[in-house]
């Protein structure tokens, strides 16, 4: 059902391209700080946009400190708890970071932290790949509304939202542009 024009608010830009780069830089610095120079650390992006974010973080870390952090991709489709609620999803690739995850500190990277269910699935998926020493979580945006006891170790930006709103992260690698927008639900 189409809503009256006035009821739909215009999308609001939360992070511009410049903001987004700054936020990524900051997370990279925080990781270096909290992990004593990213020793024994691997980054694993959660598709779709966690992958490129993880690679950007690794790139920044290399720039700042000259450290090569292994990067992987962790597809969580087969671990989701909402499979039966939607049409069958295509499976994405999983790439274990060079050197594996056993005994390492693994930082999961995603674009938006919302209910926490994606992260829950990612933890399950990760434990089937190996046994990390510890697992941390880095997200670009935390929009609240957690349904599980999960919190992020690194947060680019906290954005208070209404449930009906949606946060969309765009990245050059996947969407051709860097920005974060908030799309309004009804008033």
């Amino acid at each position: 059902m189409a809503l009256p024009e006035a009821a739909q608010s215009q999308p609001k830009t939360i992070l511009t391209s410049t903001d987004l780069q700054r936020v990524v830089d900051r997370i990279a610095h925080q990781i270096l700080e909290k992990t004593q120079g990213a020793a024994d650390t691997a980054l694993m992006g959660i598709p779709t946009r966690g992958g490129p974010l993880a690679r950007r973080l690794a790139d920044r870390i290399r720039t700042f400190e000259g450290v090569d952090v292994p990067v992987g991709v962790l597809d969580i489709t087969l671990y989701r708890d909402d499979l039966r609620r939607q049409a069958t999803r295509a499976i994405g690739p999983t790439e274990v970071p060079p050197g594996g995850v056993d005994g390492r500190r693994v930082i999961l990277v995603d674009d938006v932290l919302f209910s926490g269910r994606t992260v829950r699935a990612a933890l399950d998926a990760l434990s089937d790949i190996g046994r990390p020493r510890s697992v941390q979580l880095a997200v670009l945006v935390d929009r609240g509304h957690r349904e599980l006891p999960i919190r992020a170790d690194y947060v680019g930006k906290n954005i208070p939202t209404a449930l009906a709103e949606s946060v969309r992260v765009a990245l050059v690698e996947t969407d051709g542009v860097d920005e974060v927008k908030l799309f309004g639900g009804t008033q």
Binding site: Y79, Q86, T88, D128
Partner: protein, 300 residues
């Protein structure tokens, strides 16, 4: 996709999705924990009216790796051998809450009938002389992973095409995916009107083919005058060393198993580096995982 009854029902996009999904499933196979939670709480029934340990085990492994509950219902020693009809069996499985039924049956079309009686998904694991769609999918997967593509591949399907459900499924699927199939065998074993190129001379196709798929030839066919003798069959249509050496360097040799060594395929060929026979078995599990996931992994 609700059922997988026939490879002929698959369009190119769906078939490619199955193969891509199978590739992801295969990449998970090397992990320490092979089991995935995806189909937890789902029930898959293997309903086998014919003995086929290899196919049943392959489906069972696939379902179990996806954490589905698997019930094996073999026709022998069950109510089925006491004359229970397929329809009554279907209603029983329905009442047991089967989310999917994998059926192997000697009558062509039995999976189609079953699909009209159960609410869950039906997977055809071989019906009579009709189809064996997951075999065709795993064959296509094997060709793609060995040769890098399917479109434009020249595939010779050799042997008893008339009675082969593997051949029917392969012909349909390969055509959909853009490969060029030639059927090779004695005229008595090549069905009419399969709308595919036919050649009665194996030697003339070998030098220009990418894949040779050898079909199992049942010795009983000889008694029904489809060919005069085993020896003559092997001479005219068996793949032996000298014939294998006529193939282009990159060409592969496939066989759906079980093989009659010395009849349609010489041991030298079956055990050669060109042979994909063992790979086909491994790929079977990945492909069946993909199919189960695509049928059961979403909203039903």
């Amino acid at each position: 996709m609700k059922h997988l009854l026939s490879a002929a029902d698959l369009d190119a996009a769906t078939a490619t999705l199955v193969l891509d999904t199978a590739a992801e499933m295969a990449s998970l196979a090397g992990r320490e924990v092979k089991k995935l939670p995806t189909l937890r709480g789902r029930t898959v029934v293997n309903l086998f009216y014919e003995d086929s340990t290899r196919t049943r085990i392959s489906f069972e492994a696939a379902a179990k790796r996806l954490s589905a509950d698997v019930i094996n219902f073999s026709a022998k020693g069950s109510s089925v051998s006491k004359g229970e009809s397929l329809k009554d069996t279907a209603l029983t499985l329905q009442a047991m809450g089967a989310d999917a039924v994998v059926i192997r049956h000697p009558a062509s079309g039995a999976p189609h009938r079953l699909a009209t009686w159960v609410e869950g998904s039906v997977l055809n694991a071989g019906d009579g002389t009709h189809e064996h769609p997951t075999q065709a999918l795993l064959d296509a997967y094997t060709m793609r992973s060995r040769l890098g593509r399917l479109a434009g591949l020249k595939v010779a399907v050799v042997g008893d095409v008339l009675h082969s459900r593997v051949a029917r499924s392969n012909v349909a699927l390969l055509a959909t995916l853009g490969a060029k199939v030639t059927l090779v065998g004695p005229p008595t074993l090549i069905p009419v009107d399969l709308r595919t190129e036919v050649c009665y001379d194996l030697d003339s196709v070998l030098s220009d083919t990418d894949v040779v798929m050898m079909l199992r030839v049942q010795r009983e066919r000889m008694n029904d005058s489809y060919f005069p003798s085993e020896r003559e069959y092997a001479r005219r249509y068996g793949l032996d060393g000298p014939r294998m050496r006529k193939l282009p360097e990159h060409a592969i040799v496939m066989h759906p198993g079980p093989m009659n060594r010395g009849m349609e395929i010489a041991p030298e060929v079956a055990d050669s580096a060109r042979s994909t026979i063992v790979e086909q078995v491994a790929n079977g599990v990945s492909v069946r995982m993909a199919v189960l996931y695509l049928l059961l992994g979403g909203k039903s």
